[in-house]
Amino acid sequence: MATVEVRDLRKRYQDFLALDGVSLRAESGQLVTLLGPSGCGKSTTLRCLAGFLEANGGEITVDGESILGVPANRRGFGVVFQNYALFPHMTVAENIGYGLKIQKLPKAEIDTRVHDAMKLVRLDGLATRLPREISGGQQQRVALARALVLKPKLLLDEPLANLDARLRDEVRWLIRDLQQQSGITAFYVTHDQSEAMAMSNMVAVMKAGRVAQFATPREIYQKPTERYVADFTGEANFITCSSVTPLAEGRYAITAAGATLELNGVPGITGPAELLLRPEALALTTPEAGTFQGTVSKSAFLGAALRFEITLADGSVLKLTPEPNHPVEAGQKVGIAIDQSHAWLMPEVAP
């Protein structure tokens, strides 16, 4: 339907640089997530896309054509706001049909499309209620239907932030299903990495007004380009390498915490490097069989898993969550086996 591209977008508020050259691309029908902590510029990017904010530099194109000069009401982005922004003086049906009414469509067509949209988000029977008379989850679905009914490109600004955990999960899948069914190009802002992982075709991890990494969820998680990305996308262990020898493009031999390994990493590392080990790449074994040896410094039973912190000989600490049925006490010597295909080498300073 529409390919949206953001190139080198800049936005300055007085003396604060909110966006410092953001570049992104959503292919037609893709859902692209902007992931990052508050203040990283993800909402600002979304507001520039919607046309609520004017960028100070850069370019936004839809199907190759610039939309920077197009006002918000003609950009064709449906927006779902964090606080839903439902019109309090209009019924559910009027809220959903507002955009169609603005287009001056015949009343019969508006009614049909509103009815269909309400069915899609399971709001049947609530047409004549006012927003304040329905629950938060229902309000959220009205906001979604209202944005979807115009069949536009979609912008979602932390749409699940105000829902409780159970509803959040439900609405998350609803959004993903609807977006895929209708083939709508969508941008989704969140600070929740599991939401980003589960829903997106592509994730842009943002850091202080820049995109730290723009890649698929799998790459973001397994092959981060820097420690910031690895930290933000899930639990991670880092071990500083004492020596790094490049073997081929993106392939290295390293020494870390007394062990020698061969593994993949970010191409072109020359300086100091860190070994990234996700907890699921690690397994507990006997001291002799392990790649690393260490002492259990903390141990906790979580029900479905155990949780250990293990201090290695060089003082680095590894966190891992093994199966629950190997009781290990704090102070015990253990070995740690590594799934080398899931180990990853990153430069200490991003290239």
Binding site: F52, A72, N83, F87, Y98, I102
Partner: protein, 283 residues
């Protein structure tokens, strides 16, 4: 004795309302049925003659109509003048907001007599208003503004603007900016956003503003008396004339009751007509 201590706290308020509102109104109501007195303000017997006289005389209907209509015009003009001011104020922050509040409240900071004498000087034949208009070449000869209905309306709008601006400003401040963004992302132009979102959602401010200004305008006495002169009569001038000029307390009271009931009727009809909008727009 007193079971509920909360009621104790209400006693001062109840006493105040009783002494300064219930008692006088009851008194006026009762007075309006008294026979006219010979050498004192009212007689000993009761009669319907005052109401018969008012309702049977086109003159009083005319004055009542003029009072209610003028107040309506003042209210509408106030609304038109105040809305943009309130809009501007609702966007202001910090010192600018404080400054704007002070400007808006300034008509209320002048005494009612001083303000109206000011208007008399400003609107005189050789006053600054006429001189300015002539200097600008807009008129050739001075306009007679003093003692016209137009000047009364102008002066009333001037002093009642704050009562309209403040509640509307309040209502506008309560409209979340994301509603406006949401509407524009759905394709609404600025005009449509105003018509469909801002105007209806500011109604909780428009309504009290209009009621307040209307009631104040109907009851305004000093401004019509000073700036309207002898030529145009309004109900309050007539009532005061009966009470303090000719000392016909019963007849003056009956006029006051008629004016009050008419005002209540107008406000009631307005409230009924807008009840649905009010119910929907209270966010």
């Amino acid at each position: 004795m007193m079971r509920n201590p909360k009621l104790l706290l209400a006693i001062p308020a109840i006493a105040l309302i009783f002494v300064f509102m219930i008692l006088p109104i009851t008194n006026i109501f009762e007075m309006s049925f008294r026979t006219p007195g010979q050498s004192e303000p009212f007689g000993d017997d009761y009669t319907m003659m005052h109401y018969d006289r008012i309702l049977g005389d086109a003159y009083y209907w005319g004055v009542l109509g003029r009072s209610l209509l003028t107040a309506g015009v003042v209210t509408l003009l106030c609304l038109i003048v105040s809305y943009p001011i309130a809009w501007h104020m609702s966007k202001a922050k910090g010192l600018k907001a404080v400054f704007l509040y002070a400007c808006i409240a300034s008509p209320l900071m002048t005494g009612v007599l001083v303000r109206n004498f000011g208007w008399m000087i400003a609107a005189a034949l050789n006053g600054p208003l006429n001189e300015t208009l002539m200097a600008l070449g807009l008129i050739e000869r001075p306009l007679r503004m003093l003692f016209t209905q137009g000047l009364v309306i102008l002066a009333l709008v001037h002093v009642f603007v704050p009562f309209m601006v403040l509640p509307i400003n309040n209502a506008l401040r309560n409209i979340s900016p994301t509603l406006i963004e949401a509407a524009s992302s759905m394709g609404a132009t600025r005009r449509e956003v105003f018509r469909d979102i801002i105007l209806p959602l500011s109604f909780p401010g428009i309504y009290p503003g209009m009621i307040l200004v209307y009631v104040l305008a109907v009851a305004a006495y000093v401004t019509p008396a000073l700036l309207g002169g002898q030529m145009v009569s309004y109900m309050p001038t007539l009532i005061i004339g009966e009470l303090t000029g000719t000392f016909q307390w019963p007849f003056g009271s009956a006029l006051a009751i008629v004016l009050s009931l008419s005002t209540i009727l107008v406000v009631g009809v307005f409230t009924a007509l807008t009840a649905r909008l009010m119910e929907w727009s209270k966010a």
